[in-house]
Symmetry: C2
Subunit: 334 residues, 2 copies
């Protein structure tokens, strides 16, 4: 299969993206296409002593920046992201991996690749590497949602987790400010009812922030605003506490000795929390594989996002979602 | 000063509340009133070998449970929480500390003690013990807000932090899903403009979840739904990571040795993250001191919430808020 990567997207573009593409080609034996300013890409490869042989470089003169509006994808027709979408749409690539502007990727995937029939909104589905992998959907695409959107996220997330982690009946939770049925805003109250009444999913109730790490559900449903706050708070707390521990293990002789004794294990634990080790996040509901890599992705994160794209493609998850939405139109679209 | 405590509120009532009241009386020399089922309170004290001499016990036959609706405070006129509010209102107590149903405390403080003139909604103001103390307002009282409510939270939070931590010009941030001006839902976009335009506060812009621990602001403003998710996610991640570290320090001989070398420091770090060490959270905007202690408060947490109540009372923060809202009616009530 062929994977197109936006070489200009993300905080560490183009160097880490170019390096990540080369890593992915070598380790995953995937066929890679890098889209972006050709001269910049070739210079980056040369500087890093990376061979681009076997990697197609496709020139795109323009770039969508992190500051650009999501709608810029409509206007910047020569941007690397837009051209990557075009290649995916026209079948020159089987999957698209990008670490750039999330909003533009969301709009672009809907405008140029289209949603699966019956899906009202696509959502970013991010695996949180906690007690057990938990899928957060939506982790940032839709700041405004309806109960029915959330219901559809629950259905798509359940299919995804059942395929990727071979779970029989993934537990769906609703992120809320309490466990009781009537907690939250009207959105959560109405969604609770919709999810409870559904036979398509295994709804286990409301999940509070304090329970996110402890695997009370496999699919955690919320709007993209709340999802972003939760995901980034998790990220911030991991990095904050691990930094504090590093301080304890370096500020005295006994601390340093302790570091020698358990440093390797703590590092392994840190790696386990690292979202980049677990690949990118697909836009579930889009008719072809579009994978969002973290904005701060390094080469390893890009490689892992490519691995995610391959798994997502090979497991036919998109077809499974399409089949269920086609079969259950009445049930799912309430 | 006299402090009334709801002996029946919280997950560990009445034992830890009774013990906490005794601790507070001894260490803080405050005059304490315990409200609740008198027989239950006296038996709890006896069982724990705690002397109630010098502590007033006020009988209340009924209880508001965690499952009760916030409006139950209106109907349950013999409940411990309702009687505590009555004592505060009528001047038999100077401050009220409770670890019970948050919604009922919010409604009760508004119905029976009333808001400060000019304040549209009161909010729970919780100190997060991170890189530096950061005030999260609203951390759970109002799931639906307007930009003007958030603006008022910013003003009240600034006054609180300037008094409690002696900060000259507290930095106010808006919790959002990105740093750019146009991020978030319409609520955040409109609030950003209102906060930017105000001369009453020192607005430093949007703050993302990943930056919460790193002291980018002193007052972090948000609606109570988002605030609850952020605060509880912080709580969950702290307990999750520290549990993992405990695992590393006990699962092998080298880990145990490392634990001996740095365990005390890690414990001190854990204590530093512990919200209960930092007392309860006042309902800012209410005309008398109402302090919400964490639902899972133990005796030490109750004692610290009493300490918080004393500081809040002695520093005349309520009067300062009332003066500013009276002076700046036009400016503040847009």
């Amino acid at each position: 299969m062929k994977i197109v990567i936006d070489a200009m997207g993300g905080d560490n573009a183009p160097d880490e993206i170019v390096k990540g593409a080369a890593l992915a080609k070598k380790e995953l034996l995937a066929s890679m296409i890098l889209v972006g300013d050709e001269e910049v890409i070739r210079k980056s490869a040369e500087k890093q002593d990376i061979s681009l042989s076997g990697i197609t470089v496709c020139h795109a003169p323009d770039v969508i920046t992190m500051e650009d509006s999501p709608l810029s994808i409509r206007d910047k027709s020569d941007s690397s992201m837009r051209i990557a979408f075009k290649m995916l749409k026209e079948g020159q690539a089987d999957a698209f991996v990008g670490a750039g502007n999330t909003g533009a990727m969301h709009v672009g995937s809907t405008l140029f690749v289209h949603r699966i029939k019956g899906v009202d909104r696509s959502a970013i589905a991010t695996i949180m590497p906690l007690e057990r992998p938990t899928l957060l959907i939506d982790s940032g695409a839709n700041v405004q949602v309806t109960p029915n959107f959330l219901y559809q996220f629950a259905v798509m997330g359940s299919i995804y987790m059942s395929r990727i982690y071979n779970l029989e009946n993934p537990r769906v939770g609703l992120l809320n400010n309490g466990t009781e049925e009537k907690k939250g805003t009207q959105l959560q109250i109405d969604t609770y009812k919709l999810l409870s009444d559904s036979e398509n999913i295994n709804f286990v109730g409301n999940i509070e922030g304090k329970d996110i790490p402890f695997s009370k559900c496999d699919v955690l449903v919320c709007d993209g605003f709340t999802g972003n706050i939760a995901l980034k708070t998790i990220e911030g707390m991991s990095s904050f506490i691990l930094r504090k521990i590093k301080g304890v293990l370096s500020d005295s002789i006994s601390g340093k000795a302790a570091g020698l004794l358990c440093g390797a294990k703590l590092k392994a634990m840190k790696r386990n929390f690292d979202a980049s080790e677990h690949g990118g996040a697909p836009f579930l509901g889009i008719s072809k594989p579009v994978i969002k890599a973290h904005g701060s992705s390094d080469a390893v994160a890009i490689k892992n996002a490519v691995r995610q794209a391959i798994a997502y493609y090979n497991m036919n998850i998109i077809k499974d979602i399409a089949d269920i939405f086609a079969d259950n139109q009445k049930k799912i679209i309430q």
